[in-house]
C-alpha cells in the first residue's frame, strides 16, 4: 500500500470513528449537519481509496461515489453553517444544490462532465489518468462557484455577527485550509501528495472543535466499548495491511513447521495483538480521560458514607468543603454557608480560615430569591445580569463582591434555602466545566439531605435541653452542666447565682398568665444578654433562674447580680415611665450567690446554700442580693424550712387594723354597714359549697372582709349620693379595688387576698373593671366574691335603690349567670339559697336600721 492509500485509510478511519461517536449522541440540527459532513467525507475518501485499490464492483463505481462526496461536501458545509448560525439556505444555494445533483446524476450515466479515470501502470504503481471533455470546464466552473458560495457564507457568518464571530473561527480556518488544499494539489510541487485528504481530516477536526466549544457534546461521549473496538479494529486493519504479508514472509524464511504454520501463527498473533491493543486503548483512554471520573465516583461514595453517619452540620460542611477542594480542579476557594437562627447565611466551613463565621447574605437578599427560583447551581455573573440584581442594596453588592464568588449552589429543602455552597473559580471568565457543575450539584444534594437531618437532630437536642418559653437551658441540662463543670475541676472556682422573682404568682394572677410569660421572657433576655460569654444561664424553676459562672468569684458575681436586679426592676418601668415605684407591675427579684470553694465544696452544698441565701433575701424584704457566707453573723447557718403560712393567724395579727378600716368605711357609707360581714358570710358559704379547702375558704373570708376597703379614699358625698352617678363619679368609684390593693400591700402577709379584692368587680364576659379580664382569667376567689357581693347589694337597701326581694335577686343572678357571674358559681349559690343551705341575712343582720328607715319614710311623706 502506498503512502496515499495509507493517509486515505487513516482519514477514513478517523471519519468513521467520529461518525460512530456522534451517531450514538442525541441529535440536534447542528449535530445532524455535522454527521452529514462526515458522511460525505467518508464517501469522498472511501470512494477515492477504493477506486485506487480497484475494489469491487469497479473503480468507476467508486469514482462516482467519490465524486458525490466531493460535490456534496460544499453543500453539507453550507447546511452546517446554516444550522450553526441559526439561518436558512438561500434560494441560490438551493438552486446550486439541485444543479449539482443533476450534474452528478447525468455524469453517472453519461460521464459527460468528467469520465472515470483510466488506471495506467507506471513504474510498478497504478496511476489514474483523467481525460477532460467538453463538459469538464463547465463542471469545474460550477464547482468553483459552489466553493466560492460556501467560502462566502463562512466569511459572512464570521464577520456579520460580532457577537458570535469567535465561534466561527474554527469553521473559517477549517474551510480555508480545505479549499486551499484543493487548489494546492493542482500545482506541480504538490503533485502526488495527499494534501486534500490531510486537509479533510483537519477540516473535520475544526468542525469537531467548534462543536465542542459550543458545548454541543461532552468528551465522555467518545469513551465506550464500541469506540475502543473501532479504534482497535482500525489500528489492526492498518497494521495487517502494512505488516501481515511481510511478517508471513519472514516466518516462511524460518522454514520447517514455522513455515508450515505461518498463516496460523500470523492469525493467532493478530488475535493476540488485537486483544493487547484493545486492552491498551481501553486502559490508556480510561487513565487519561475517565480516571478522574472514577476517582470522583469513589470520593463521592466515601462522602455519602461519611455524611450519613455524621449528625453535626459543621462536620458535614467541612467534609463537603474538603471533597470539592480535592476533586474539582478549577476551584480556588470554596465556602459552605448555613442559615442561622437570625435568618443570616453564615460560613460554617471554608477553604479560607479567615472567612469562617462571616455572613454571606441575609434572608431578604434578592440572591436568596434567585437561588430559590433556580434551584441548581447559580452562576453569579448570571445573577448580575438579572433584574433581581437591580434591587440589591449597595452593601449587599459589596458583600457579594467581597465574597469573590463565581457560583452559588443552593441547598434547598422544600423550597426553603437552608444553606449554600459558594465557589470561586481559578478562571473567573470561563467558570467551571459543565461536568464539574453537575458533580458539585450532585454532592450538594447529598449534603443538603445530610444537613437537613443533622439540623433536625440538633434541633431535637436543643429542644431537649432548653426551656420552651425563655429559650434558656432547662433545669435538667443546667444541673448536668453544673456537675460536669464541677467534675472537670472540683477545686476550681465556680459561682452559682439564683434569681428568684418576687411575688410572681401574684403578678400572674393580677395580669394574667400571658403577661407573666412575657415578663419571664424579658427577664430571660436580660440574663442572657448580660451574663457574659462564659456563663451558663438557665431557667431553674417556674420563677427562678440560675447563672453558673465558671472561674468567677463572688464579688464579680455580686456586681453582675446587682446589675441584673436593677435591670429587672426597671423592666416594666421602661414601658410605663409613670409607673409608681410600689406598683405591683414592678418586678423585683431576690438573688442569692454562692461559690465553690468559698461557700461550698460540693454541688449539693452549693445548691442548698444558694437556696438558703435566696430565702434569706425574701425574708429580709425581697428585692435584694446576698452572698452566702458560712459565718453565723451573716446568717449563713442552715435555716429551718419555713412553715406553711397560717392565714388565720396572719389575719388575726391585723384584725384590729382591719376592724378600724372597715369601721371607717361603715361610717362613711351608711348603707353598706356590715356589708363586708355579710359578703364574708355568703362568700364563705359559697366557697364551702363549691368544695374549696379550709385554707382557701379562710382566704375568701378575709378577702370578703377587706374587699371594699378601697372605698376609704372615695368622698362620702359620692358614696352616699342618691340617684345615678355621673361618669366622672363612677370613674372614681371604679378605682376602689385598686385603692384596696394599695392599702393591703402595706399589710405584707395579707397580699394573698389581693387577687380576689382587685378582681371582684370583673365580669365573666370581660366587661367589668378595673382590668376587663373575663372567664377563668378572673381568680376563683374573686368570682365567689362577686356573686356574694352582688347578692348582698341587691337584697340590701342602698342610697340609689330600695332593697329587692330575695327571689328577685336570685332571678337576677340566674339571668346574669354567664354574663356578669361565673355561671357555675351563680347557679350553685342560687340553689344553696333556695334549699336553705345558705341563710339569707336578715335586715338587722345586714345592719339596716328600721328606726332610721321609718324616720326617712316619714320625712318623705311630709
Amino acid at each position: 500500500m502506498g503512502s496515499y492509500s495509507f493517509v486515505s485509510s487513516c482519514a477514513l478511519m478517523c471519519y468513521v470513528l467520529l461518525f460512530s461517536i456522534f451517531a450514538a449522541a442525541k441529535k440536534n440540527r447542528v449535530l445532524s449537519a455535522f454527521l452529514r459532513i462526515l458522511f460525505v467525507l467518508i464517501l469522498w475518501t472511501g470512494g477515492s481509496l477504493l477506486m485506487r485499490l480497484q475494489a469491487w464492483p469497479s473503480p468507476a463505481f467508486w469514482y462516482h461515489v467519490s465524486l458525490v462526496g466531493i460535490w456534496m461536501s460544499c453543500f453539507t458545509l453550507i447546511r452546517f453553517l446554516c444550522a450553526f448560525s441559526g439561518t436558512k439556505m438561500s434560494r441560490f444555494e438551493k438552486l446550486l444544490e439541485v444543479l449539482a445533483i443533476l450534474l452528478l446524476v447525468v455524469n453517472a450515466f453519461t460521464s459527460f462532465f468528467l469520465a472515470p479515470p483510466t488506471p495506467v501502470e507506471s513504474g510498478g504503481q497504478t496511476v489514474f489518468l483523467y481525460t477532460p471533455s467538453a463538459g469538464t470546464l463547465p463542471m469545474y466552473a460550477l464547482m468553483g462557484v459552489v466553493a466560492a458560495v460556501a467560502l462566502t457564507r463562512t466569511a459572512r457568518c464570521y464577520s456579520s455577527n460580532v457577537v458570535t464571530h469567535q465561534q466561527f473561527v474554527p469553521l473559517l480556518v477549517g474551510c480555508v485550509v480545505m479549499f486551499a488544499s484543493q487548489v494546492l494539489i493542482l500545482l506541480p510541487p504538490f503533485e502526488g501528495i495527499p494534501l486534500d485528504i490531510g486537509a479533510g481530516v483537519f477540516y473535520a477536526c475544526c468542525l469537531f472543535y467548534a462543536l465542542y466549544r459550543r458545548r454541543l457534546f461532552t468528551l465522555t461521549l467518545a469513551f465506550s466499548r464500541r469506540t475502543y473496538c473501532l479504534v482497535t479494529a482500525a489500528i489492526l486493519a492498518l497494521l495487517s495491511t502494512e505488516l501481515a504479508r511481510e511478517y508471513q514472509v519472514v516466518l516462511m524464511g524460518f522454514g520447517g513447521w514455522i513455515a508450515q504454520y505461518s498463516a496460523t501463527i500470523v492469525a493467532v498473533s493478530a488475535v493476540i495483538l488485537a486483544w493487547l491493543l484493545y486492552l491498551l486503548v481501553k486502559t490508556l483512554s480510561e487513565k487519561l480521560f475517565l480516571g478522574e471520573e472514577r476517582d470522583r465516583s469513589a470520593r463521592l461514595k466515601a462522602f455519602n458514607t461519611e455524611v450519613t453517619r455524621s449528625l453535626h452540620v459543621e462536620s458535614i460542611c467541612q467534609q463537603l468543603c474538603k471533597l470539592l477542594r480535592g476533586t474539582v480542579s478549577g476551584i480556588t476557594g470554596i465556602s459552605v454557608a448555613v442559615e442561622d437562627t437570625a435568618g443570616s447565611y453564615r460560613i460554617v466551613a471554608s477553604s479560607s480560615v479567615l472567612s469562617a463565621g462571616q455572613e454571606i447574605f441575609a434572608s431578604q437578599n434578592p440572591l436568596v430569591t434567585w437561588c430559590k427560583m433556580h434551584q441548581a447551581g447559580v452562576r453569579v455573573s448570571d445573577f448580575r445580569h438579572s433584574v433581581e440584581y437591580k434591587s440589591m442594596w449597595e452593601k449587599e453588592k459589596a458583600q457579594l463582591e467581597a465574597l469573590r464568588a463565581d457560583y452559588i449552589f443552593p441547598m434547598l429543602d422544600a423550597g426553603e434555602l437552608i444553606g449554600a455552597v459558594v465557589v470561586t473559580c481559578r478562571d473567573h471568565s470561563r467558570g467551571l466545566h459543565s461536568e464539574d457543575v453537575d458533580f458539585i450539584s450532585s454532592v450538594n444534594t447529598v449534603a443538603t439531605i445530610a444537613i437537613k437531618n443533622s439540623r433536625l437532630y440538633e434541633k431535637a437536642c436543643h429542644d431537649a435541653r432548653t426551656d420552651d418559653l425563655t429559650g434558656l437551658l432547662n433545669r435538667k441540662y443546667f444541673l448536668e452542666e453544673l456537675n460536669h463543670l464541677y467534675e472537670k475541676d472540683p477545686a476550681g472556682l465556680l459561682t452559682l447565682v439564683i434569681i428568684s422573682l418576687d411575688d410572681f404568682k401574684l403578678y400572674n394572677q393580677l395580669y394574667g398568665n400571658h403577661e407573666g410569660d412575657l415578663a419571664l421572657k424579658r427577664v430571660a433576655n436580660i440574663l442572657a444578654l448580660n451574663s457574659g460569654e462564659n456563663s451558663i444561664v438557665a431557667r431553674y424553676s417556674g420563677k427562678e433562674f440560675a447563672i453558673l459562672l465558671p472561674r468567677q468569684e463572688s464579688s464579680a458575681a455580686c456586681r453582675l447580680a446587682e446589675n441584673l436586679r436593677r435591670q429587672i426592676y426597671n423592666l416594666n418601668r421602661l414601658e410605663e415611665p409613670d409607673m409608681e415605684a410600689g406598683s405591683l407591675k414592678v418586678i423585683t427579684c431576690s438573688i442569692g450567690i454562692c461559690s465553690i470553694p468559698y461557700g461550698a465544696s460540693t454541688v449539693k452544698q452549693l445548691l442548698d446554700n444558694v437556696d438558703m441565701t435566696v430565702y434569706q433575701v425574701k425574708r429580709s424584704g425581697k428585692n435584694g442580693v446576698m452572698v452566702y457566707s458560712a459565718g453565723p453573723s451573716q446568717s449563713g447557718e442552715p435555716l429551718a424550712a419555713p412553715s406553711p403560712v397560717d392565714h388565720e393567724n396572719v389575719y388575726s395579727g391585723y384584725a384590729d387594723t382591719i376592724y378600724a378600716l372597715t369601721a371607717t368605711i361603715d361610717a362613711k357609707d351608711h348603707y353598706t354597714f356590715t356589708h363586708s360581714g355579710n359578703v364574708a358570710y355568703y362568700a364563705t358559704q359559697l366557697a364551702i359549697a363549691y368544695g374549696l379547702n379550709a385554707e382557701t375558704v379562710e382566704i375568701v373570708r378575709e378577702a370578703a372582709l377587706l374587699h371594699d376597703i378601697g372605698k376609704i379614699s372615695i368622698p362620702e358625698k359620692i358614696l352616699n349620693k342618691p340617684g345615678r352617678l355621673t361618669s366622672e363619679e363612677y370613674d372614681i368609684i371604679k378605682k376602689h379595688p385598686e385603692n384596696a390593693v394599695a392599702i393591703i400591700r402595706h399589710l405584707p402577709s395579707l397580699d394573698y387576698v389581693i387577687p380576689a379584692v382587685l378582681s371582684h368587680h370583673e365580669r365573666w364576659d370581660g366587661k367589668g373593671y378595673p382590668r376587663r379580664i373575663g372567664g377563668e382569667d378572673i381568680p376563683l376567689n374573686a368570682r365567689i366574691l362577686c356573686v356574694a357581693d352582688c347578692f348582698d347589694a341587691m337584697t340590701g337597701k342602698r342610697c340609689y335603690q330600695d332593697s329587692r326581694t330575695v327571689e328577685s335577686a336570685l332571678q337576677d343572678l340566674e339571668l346574669n349567670a354567664g354574663k356578669q357571674f361565673d355561671p357555675t358559681l351563680a347557679r350553685l349559690f342560687v340553689s344553696k339559697i333556695r334549699d336553705g343551705t345558705i341563710q339569707v341575712r336578715s335586715a338587722k343582720q345586714r345592719g339596716e336600721n328600721p328606726a332610721e328607715e321609718a324616720g326617712k319614710k316619714q320625712n318623705k311623706e311630709e
Binding site: 460580532v162 464571530h165 445580569h385 434591587s391 442594596w393 452593601k395
Partner: protein, 539 residues
C-alpha cells in the same frame, strides 16, 4: 471591558436581559424592586444631616412613613445645603457633582451630588438606552463602539453619559473627552464630525435641537459651499471616500447630501425637551428615528423609549417615582396626593416626583417634568408596565429646546432692567407653524402714557429684551448662536386688554404659560369693542 468585547464572550441574550430585562417586570415586581431600594435609601437618608433637616426625630422606613414625614420638596428646600457642596451633610459621599442652570440671573446654578451607586446605575441604564436604540425588537440588537456626541461636557449631566460610556464601556466618543475641555461648541462639533467621517460612527448622541442644527450644518459642509474646498482636501482618505460615495448617492437621488448618506447609524439617541418637533426631520436626515432619553440633573436617568420610539418606560432603579396629578401641578401644595407607578391611569397627566436611590440627596422632589400615561403594557415591548410620553416642563417654567429655563422672575427682571414701558404681560411657549420649532411668545401691553414720547415697536421691544435675556442667561444667547433660532416673539396688545380680561373673567391672566383657552380669550379681546365695559386710561 468593552461592551463589544463582552458581547463576544457572553451570550447576547444575557447581556440584553441584564440591561433591558426590566421591561419584562410587571407592576408588582416593579414596585417590589422600588420599595426595596427605597428602604435602603431611607436608612441612609434618615441618618444624615440632610435627612434629619427634613425629618427631625422621625425615621421613615417605607413609602407610607416617608409620605407622612416629608412633604413634596423643591430645589429651594435643598439649596442651602447642596450649593455649599458639603459631603458630610449627605447620605453618602458623592463621587461627582452635576450642575445645571436654575433660574437665569437670580439663582444661576443648581448642583446635585452623585454617589458611586448612582453613577453605576446611571451607566447601566445608559447602556440599556444604547441597546434599545439599536434594537429592532426584543433582544434583536447590534452594537458598535463609535459614538458621535453632540452633548455638553461635564459638569452637565449629558457629560456624564459620555464619560461613563467612554471610561466604563470602552466606547470611542467623538470628539474625545480629553480634547474638548477648552473647545467651543462649534469647534467640538466640527472635530466630532470630521472624526466620524474618517472612522465612521455607530451612535449619535445629542439634544434634539442640537442634532437638528448639526445635521443641517453637516449637509452644508458636505454639500461643498464656497471656501470649503481646502477643508475637504485636508480630510483623510477614508473620509473623502465616504464623502464621495455620499455625493454619488445624493446626486443620483437629486438632493443635498444627508447624514444618512455618510453614516450607517445603528442608534440615534436624543435628550432634552421639544424633541418631538425635530424627530421627523431628523429621521429623514439620518434614516433612523431618534430614541428619546429622559434624564434630569436631580433625578438622574429616569427612562427612555423602546425600539418602537413611542413609549417611555421608567428605569426601576434610578429613583422612587411618584406622580403628582395634573390638578395639583400648578399648586404649591406640599401635601398634595401622589400616585405610585402601579396606580397611574392611562390618559392622565402627571408631574414626576422622585426620591433618589443609592445615597442621593433628594426626597419627594418635584422634578418639574410632566408626563402623560399613554397606557399600561404593550405586548410588542414584552412590557406590562405603564407607558408614558413626555409632555413638557411644568407651566411655571418655559423651556425652549432644552436650553433655557424662563420663569416669571426672569421676565420681570428683563422688563425691569430694560426699563421698557411694559405695563402688563403674559408669556407662553409656542411652536412655529411652518417649522414646528419652539419660541417664547410675549404678549405685552404698553403703558399708555409712554406712547407719546417713546418708540415702542415690536422690533424695538424685542431687541431691548433680548439684550437683557442674554445678559441674565447665557443659554438664551446659545439659542441664537447654536441653534439659529429666533427665540422671542412679541405681540403688543391694545391698552386695557389685560384689565378687560380681568374684569370679564374675574381673575387676571396667568403670567407664565397661561392655559390655551385663557390666552385665546385674551387675543380675542383685541377684535372686540369693549370700550364701554369700564373706565380705561385715555391715550
Amino acid at each position: 471591558m468593552k461592551l463589544t468585547e463582552r458581547l463576544c464572550q457572553e451570550d447576547p441574550e444575557k447581556v440584553w436581559q441584564e440591561y433591558c430585562g426590566f421591561l419584562e417586570l410587571d407592576s408588582e415586581g416593579y414596585m417590589k424592586l422600588q420599595n426595596r431600594l427605597l428602604e435602603e435609601q431611607l436608612a441612609l437618608w434618615s441618618d444624615c444631616p440632610l435627612g434629619r433637616h427634613f425629618l427631625g426625630s422621625k425615621r421613615p422606613v417605607d413609602y407610607a412613613s416617608l409620605r407622612q414625614a416629608v412633604p413634596l420638596t423643591t430645589y429651594e428646600d435643598y439649596a442651602d445645603i447642596l450649593l455649599q457642596r458639603r459631603p458630610e451633610f449627605l447620605p453618602l459621599p458623592p463621587v461627582t457633582w452635576i450642575e445645571t442652570t436654575w433660574e437665569g440671573g437670580k439663582r444661576p446654578v443648581k448642583t446635585a451630588p452623585y454617589t458611586q451607586g448612582m453613577v453605576d446605575t446611571f451607566s447601566r441604564n445608559g447602556v440599556a438606552t444604547m441597546l434599545l436604540a439599536s434594537a429592532q425588537g426584543w433582544g434583536d440588537f447590534s452594537v458598535g463602539d463609535k459614538i458621535l456626541s453632540g452633548l455638553a461636557p461635564m459638569p452637565f449631566l449629558t457629560g456624564l453619559i459620555g464619560l461613563i460610556l467612554d471610561e466604563e464601556y470602552g466606547f470611542e466618543t467623538m470628539p474625545p473627552r480629553s480634547t474638548i475641555a477648552t473647545m467651543s461648541f462649534s469647534e467640538r462639533s466640527k472635530l466630532g464630525f470630521k472624526q466620524a467621517l474618517n472612522r465612521g460612527m455607530d451612535y449619535f448622541l445629542s439634544m434634539g435641537s442640537i442634532a437638528y442644527y448639526l445635521s443641517l450644518n453637516l449637509s452644508a459642509v458636505a454639500g461643498g459651499g464656497s471656501g470649503k474646498k481646502k477643508g475637504k482636501f485636508s480630510l483623510p482618505l477614508p473620509a473623502l471616500l465616504r464623502l464621495a460615495k455620499a455625493k454619488m448617492t445624493a446626486k443620483r437621488e437629486g438632493r443635498e447630501i444627508l447624514p444618512k448618506d455618510l453614516f450607517q447609524t445603528k442608534g440615534f439617541i436624543c435628550a432634552g425637551t421639544d424633541n418631538a418637533c425635530y424627530k421627523d426631520d431628523l429621521e429623514k436626515m439620518w434614516g433612523v428615528r431618534p430614541l428619546e432619553l429622559f434624564a434630569g440633573t436631580e433625578a438622574g436617568m429616569v427612562g427612555c423609549e423602546t425600539w418602537n420610539r413611542k413609549d417611555l418606560y421608567f428605569f426601576p432603579d434610578t429613583a422612587f417615582y411618584e406622580f403628582l396629578p395634573e390638578q395639583y401641578i400648578r399648586s404649591c401644595q406640599k401635601d398634595a396626593p401622589t400616585l405610585l407607578m402601579n396606580e397611574v391611569q392611562p390618559g392622565s397627566v402627571y408631574e414626576l416626583v422622585v426620591t433618589s436611590f443609592k445615597g442621593g440627596a433628594f426626597a419627594r422632589y418635584r422634578t418639574g417634568d410632566v408626563y402623560r400615561c399613554t397606557g399600561i403594557g404593550n405586548p410588542d415591548d414584552h412590557s406590562r408596565l405603564p407607558r408614558f410620553c413626555f409632555v413638557d416642563r411644568v407651566p411655571d417654567i418655559i423651556d425652549i429646546a432644552g436650553f433655557t429655563r424662563i420663569t416669571q422672575h426672569s421676565v420681570e427682571d428683563v422688563i425691569q432692567l430694560s426699563a421698557l414701558p411694559i405695563q402688563e404681560w403674559s408669556a407662553a411657549k409656542e411652536f412655529d407653524t411652518a417649522t414646528g420649532h419652539p419660541y417664547l411668545h410675549l404678549y405685552v401691553e404698553i403703558e399708555p402714557g409712554s406712547l407719546v414720547n417713546r418708540a415702542v415697536t415690536v422690533d424695538v421691544l424685542r431687541r431691548h429684551m433680548e439684550i437683557y435675556f442674554n445678559y441674565l442667561d447665557n443659554d438664551y444667547d446659545n439659542l441664537k448662536k447654536i441653534l439659529g433660532l429666533e427665540p422671542l416673539q412679541i405681540t403688543i396688545l391694545r391698552s386695557g386688554t389685560f384689565a378687560t380680561y380681568q374684569k370679564r373673567y374675574g381673575q387676571p391672566i396667568v403670567r407664565i404659560s397661561p392655559p390655551r383657552e385663557q390666552l385665546a380669550a385674551l387675543v380675542r379681546l383685541q377684535a372686540e369693542d369693549w370700550a364701554g365695559e369700564g373706565e380705561y386710561p385715555a391715550i
